[in-house]
């Protein structure tokens, strides 16, 4: 049995310890906001937070996540997260939307770490999150807007 906490709920799971966290989240726990895009940590669509750090769930064996606190897109509720999601809405970032859970998870992790990222910091944090619709210009603008909103106390 593997114990892990997802979005504040504790789960005791009887699964193959090698099963990637992504498929545990999607197929076993049933949270589908976290997406599959490549299976090799090349696209970022599966990004979740493990004890606050962004990780690629598609290459994280569930055994490595044991005892960790996992946050998925469904569990976001911090001030920064709300600022990011609200900037995503105001700037109308999404197109097909499939990568956006991962984009948002990476953006929230970035802003939790760096309240005012410059372009270089955004590139470093976000260049592993692919978007085939190429919404990148709006993602960059939304991250900056979320940073401004968070820093001025509003979200």
């Amino acid at each position: 049995m593997i114990q892990l906490t997802i979005n504040g709920s504790s789960h005791e799971l009887d699964v193959d310890p090698d099963m990637p966290l992504l498929w545990v989240i999607r197929d076993v726990v049933g949270l589908t906001g976290t997406k599959y895009g490549c299976g090799l940590a090349l696209c970022g669509a599966c990004t979740v937070h493990s004890d606050g750090q962004p990780v690629r769930a598609c290459v994280t064996p569930v055994s490595m996540a044991a005892g960790k606190s996992i946050t998925t897109i469904e569990g976001l509720n911090s001030t920064v997260a709300r600022a990011v999601q609200s900037a995503w809405q105001r700037l109308q970032v999404v197109q097909c939307g499939y990568c956006q859970s991962g984009q948002i998870m990476s953006a929230v992790a970035l802003l939790e770490e760096n309240a005012s990222p410059d372009d270089a910091a955004i590139n470093t944090a976000m260049s592993g999150n692919l978007c085939r619709c190429a919404t990148y210009a709006r993602i960059r603008a939304a991250i900056k807007e979320a940073a401004r909103a968070s820093n001025s106390g509003g979200a």
Partner: protein, 732 residues
Amino acid sequence: MAAGSIVNLSRRRFLRTGLAAGAGLTLGVYLPAARAMHAEAGPGKAAGDLVPAAPFEPNAFVRIGTDNQVTVIVKHLEMGQGTYTGLPTLVAEELDAAWSQIRPEGAPADAKRYNNLLWGDSQGTGGSTAVANSFEQLRKAGAAAREMLVNAAASRWQVPADAITVRDGVVRHAASQRSASFGELAEAAAQQPVPQEVLLKDPEEFRLIGRDLPRKDSPDKINGSARYTLDVKLPGMLTALVAHPPRFGARVKSFDAARAKAVPGVVSVVQIPTGVAVLGRDFWSAHRGREALAIDWDETQAFTLGSEQITADYRRLAKQPGRVARKDGDAEAAMAQAARTVEASYEFPYLAHAAMEPMNCVIRVTGDGAEIWNGEQFQTADQHAVAAVLGLAPEQVKIHMLYAGGSFGRRANPQSDYVVEAATIAKATGGKAPVKLVWTREDDMRGGYYRPLYYHALRAGLDGDGRPIAWQQRIVGQSIMAGTAFEAVMIKDGVDQTSVEGAANLPYAIPNLTVDLHSPTLGVPVQWWRSVGSTHTAFATEAFLDELATAAGKDPVAYRRMLLKDHPRHRGVLELVAEKAGWGSPLPKGQGRGVAVHESFNSFVAQVAEVTVRENGGFSVDRVVIAVDCGIAVNPDVIRAQMEGGMGFGLSAALTSRLTLKQGRVEQSNFHDYTVLTIDQMPAVEVHIVKSAAPPTGVGEPATPVIAPAVANALHAATGRRVYRLPIELDS
């Protein structure tokens, strides 16, 4: 009256009444009727939900409930391009609804009611046609519903209908200070006769069209609740992965499933025409099961050529005349008279669509048919194909259209390839359990149906003033229409129109012009890819024209303007983009500015790219200015988004994407070797929309083909070197 045959009554009315202020367009209404029950669920709805019939359903596109919610039934796939926003806007405009009360819902597969009006009797999404073919149909749907609501209010309040106004979802009679919501009038409106003709608004009266209304799909895509095919879960459903052959055309000779079946969670292993399917209780078990398969492939019929050999063959073929796609004057004779000639050839690799959501499909065989859950782009074709596999009538195949995690053309497959694969698995397993077919990224990358490899050879003759007097363009590449149901319509006199679009309609004033085509048949499956023929023709024509401008000693913008005097919309975007980009203003050393202009899908796009070339030979695209003329701008922000993203999609192909074959095997497998644009490579981008009263045209595709030539031309401005092959390698 047939759908699409429209009686224009406005002229008669104008003749009768003179120019009535604010009069719009009166049109006869033929709209398919609603059905009594709705068994289809759209995105965001639980699979298989029964949608109760609403009290007021004036036609197949509008449903108004007593809860005051207006449901707009959207017949086109939402794959990012904004159909779930743009199409409801058209209904809401004429209905005078409040945007907040509008809710989109995916249409079921039913070509009688939901055909693409530009595709005859077929239902599907593509060719940037969603708004263009719906513009009148959905406004009529909204106007008809509005008239019935007004008549219901007039009857209830005993006042003349023309004394009633509607605004933001409220029906009002000012003189008596009475008002009602749509919901309050819904039941009464349903009793009103359906109008046989409606008056559409004059564009001056538009209140929603032309505004940056927020996308309807944004909230669910931001909080993770939007449902894609990958997210479908049905009771008892199994996940299927398929082991495909290593080369196109290979077949299973034999296989041993013993080890696969021993993997915990694997339920069954079956052979299907496209390979061997492993079904498991979840993705991981099916994946491990597939890895444990031992398969012996029969490759006697397999395709074994490599990209290099294909390109070499095409280069040889380009020395021979092909099928003529366009012939003006006598290019050969004019070439002999030219003061100077210029020649160039261009090479384009195979490209994968590589949508973020790899192909997938859910199927459930039921007692009286089959149900499909899919990011459904090609309803009619898929219905027929699945029906053929399962021995059903097409209408027995019900399709739930879910959001697609991108497509770029891939989910509209003329062979219904992955949808049929799901059906063959359901058939092979006796339809016992619902099946979710999931392709991994590797399956998707190596599964074929690519933008074909192309080769273009161009030659031009200039007169003493540098004007082109002769242009010969020879195009070599596989036809994407050959062997499909579209062949009869799209291949004329041996010329696949999609192979030459963008070249055969070259807008420049060149008196002697020939475009011809070779369409070799190869065993590599090919398909349309965002902007189709223009993906290669725009580059060849715009890079070559730039080279002619240089040869003529002319400014690239001025040279194009001179040759576009009879093409005001091309000129319009060209002049707008030049002005907004500061064309002609000085740039620091190492930087360059390039321009390209191209028409596709009846829209006109010009782009100016600015590049910086580093001393080590690398370069970056720093800024892109885009001008677009797509007729009436239904939602300017969605148009801007499509211009930004469409350009970015084209920039992947310009800078980095390339799919290659070696002895018939696809060399790439995932995003480490099939690289695509990343955020650090995305330029600053600004979009300018030409104000227009013309009917709206496509925006999903037309930005894509313009960026590669703009960047190549900018690199020439910065370095003096030309680009003849994509993706761009400066040292090549």
